[in-house]
């Protein structure tokens, strides 16, 4: 394990360069639990359960990551804690260094994947309490996502009701690879609760519920990581076709760490197929593309990087979603995007501001500082 503190060596501190009008909202920060970190938030029985059996999900889908903990080499804090577990270090390396105005925490602790649903619910409660006590309260720039045992709509909704009024939470966190496509009715209690508290749904990269492609199990991490847009494809189609947005017209969904270049072709295909097969879902009130452009937000990282400037400009025009793209770093993971370098330098200043901060401020209802 490397505990090198090379902050400031590998990363240029942006502090002096960026002024407040250049502040960044980071839509994807991963805070992690240090060993034993959830103990104060679990009941005696669940603590014992945790000790004896640990996390149990649909395992068998593990591909060794690029680097230990999928983390940047320089993200291991000098304190010896794992990447993302040391608030002080995160403040320095991320929030201060890049002039982050607000950051949204998305802890990836697989609570929703637990086979034992009640254990998943207990874990969710613990993680959410830990987030407020140890992250959001001590650091006003951070906001948290509510984690939920999403494979059971009722248990999930209970947790949303428990947390929904707390202003420290700004979204409900789901994962890209779920057991059923997320438009399925089994998840509707989640959306009902989300609508009640006006919380967006965030769907983050990851998860394992069965073979990770529609063609079975691939062999390498590059396929696991590079294939993630396939899961997002299915989720977008499912939300639209299952009528979720007709039933919950105020629902907003953020697709996090899925990239976005795949969206325009998906929109065209879905509209074209719907024209032929609309008799199957006669209740759908509008063209699929209209729902998609209205209800989905997308985080940028990992940005697709077309080889030519014109392709990127074409992509933005085809998407026609300038108000929906939101910058994210994915700190502390290896494929971190820097606010300085990730966005192409030819973007118009107005659009750059939208992506770096304004769009996320609007979705998460952040006050401009």
């Amino acid at each position: 394990m490397e505990n090198t503190s090379n902050l400031g060596r590998t990363l240029n501190s942006g502090k002096e360069v960026l002024k407040n009008e250049n502040a960044v909202v980071d839509c994807d920060i991963h805070n992690s639990v240090p060993p034993g970190g959830l103990s104060p938030y679990l009941s005696k029985n669940w603590k014992e359960h945790h000790k004896q059996f640990g996390l149990r999900s649909r395992i068998g889908g593990y591909y060794p990551r690029a680097l230990l903990n999928a983390a940047r080499r320089d993200a291991w804090p000098p304190s010896g804690l794992p990447p993302g577990a040391d608030l002080g270090f995160m403040q320095k390396q991320l929030l201060d260094a890049w002039n982050i105005e607000y950051g949204v925490l998305n802890p990836l602790i697989a609570v929703g994947e637990q086979l034992n649903l009640e254990y998943g619910a207990a874990l969710a409660k613990a993680v959410n309490e830990w987030q407020i006590a140890e992250w959001v309260e001590p650091e006003p720039r951070l906001r948290a996502s509510i984690v939920i045992p999403y494979e059971d709509g009722e248990l999930a909704a209970e947790e949303i009701h428990r947390c929904g009024e707390n202003p420290g939470f700004v979204q409900i966190l789901l994962i890209a690879r779920t057991r059923a496509p997320l438009g399925n009715r089994k998840y509707w209690k989640i959306y009902e609760a989300a609508a009640e508290y006006e919380l967006p749904i965030g769907i983050h990269f990851g998860g394992v519920a069965g073979p990770i492609t529609g063609a079975g199990w691939p062999s390498y991490y590059i396929e696991d990581h590079g294939g993630m847009p396939q899961a997002f494809h299915t989720q977008v189609i499912s939300y639209v076709c299952e009528g979720v947005f007709d039933r919950f017209p105020t629902l907003r969904v953020a697709l996090i760490e899925g990239g976005f270049a795949w969206l325009p072709p998906l929109i065209w295909r879905l509209d074209a197929t719907w024209k032929k097969l609309r008799s199957e879902i006669p209740k759908l009130q509008r063209k699929p593309s209209e729902y998609i452009r209205e209800h989905f937000w997308l985080s940028t990282q990992p940005m697709e990087e077309p080889p030519k400037r014109e392709y990127f400009e074409q992509l933005l025009e085809q998407m026609d979603m300038d108000d929906k793209l939101m910058f994210a770093t994915d700190y502390p993971h290896w494929d971190f995007d820097s606010p300085h370098r990730a966005l192409p330098n030819f973007l118009k200043p107005e659009l750059r501001r939208k992506i770096l901060a304004d769009n996320a401020r609007a979705l998460y209802q952040f006050e401009k500082k």
Partner: protein, 365 residues
Amino acid sequence: MRKEDGGAPAKLSTPTQFVYAGIQAIDCDIHNEIPSLQTLFPYMSDFWCDYCRNSGFRGPDANDYPRGSPLTTHPDAIPPWEVDLPHIREWLLDRWNLEYGILNCAYRVQSVHNPDLAAALAQAINDWQIEHWLEPEPRLRASLVIPSQVPELAAKEIERVGEHPGFVQVIMPVRSRTPYGNRFYHPIYEAAVRHHLAVGIHYGGAPGNQPSPTGWPSTYLEEYSGMTQVFQAQVISLVVEGIFNQFPELRIVLIESGFTWLPAVMWRIDKEWRGLRNNTPWLKRLPSDYMREHIRFTLQPIDSPPNPKELLQIIGQLESEEMLMFSTDYPHWQFDTPTDALPPELPRQLAHKILWENARAFYQL
């Protein structure tokens, strides 16, 4: 069962307003469907005929083209299982001025779990194709149906009939139990290359595992429109698992896959490769280079953007004029009028390549 007269007139096969009329074309996706399991009995052993009769087996149950669905049969065409050679001759080969038509039989022997039955069915289908389609009609070429879930038996079938000049490719459904880049499939690619056959990966299939990384969608609309993500998984698998390094002559064609999604996949995987190339040290070039060199796409369904300019942008982003090959997907419903079969805004030179030249080169016709 089949109409002897070739069925009712089909409006969509009268390309009178076809903007490129006069240019010769090759149609890379015509469906010849097996009317029923009984059609295959004359080509199967007594053992398997008895097995089918006694067990009540009625054929693979992929159901990737629900029989009544509007997409399966164009509102003005006859249903696929009634399409026979006279019909194809009259409504497709003659009227569209086709130099060649490539038949893609979508009978899913790959969904049959009994490997020997799957192989027996494949063998019967190929013999039926030779007798009823290839021998009587020199403009037709066909796809060799193989039990790809058992590569050893699939390779045997390629050995058996791969030298027949009518077969130009082997065909496998895009939905598989294991992605096609896996070395498990090497015997198929080895045999295909040895017999100078392309490998076609076609929409559909029913291997038993879920059709997406997130389980089973509820509707056919979701499954059909979502099938592009399975094609994406296969493209990524084929390239990064090193199939083209292992078989440098291998030619792959994705059929009924759409193609507008490809630039986004190229950009994403090229970027992944920069970060994760230690996963796959055999890749010596950008993944997108392998795609351009080895993979082709049939045209329909185009999944056209509403603005024709955007389609040209996507074709430009492919950075290759060789990747697209004309297809009608007949008798499935992919376009309303012949004008829509090929986007009218294509530059003439590119249209010529898509209509004819690319397929001619790819299939070595």
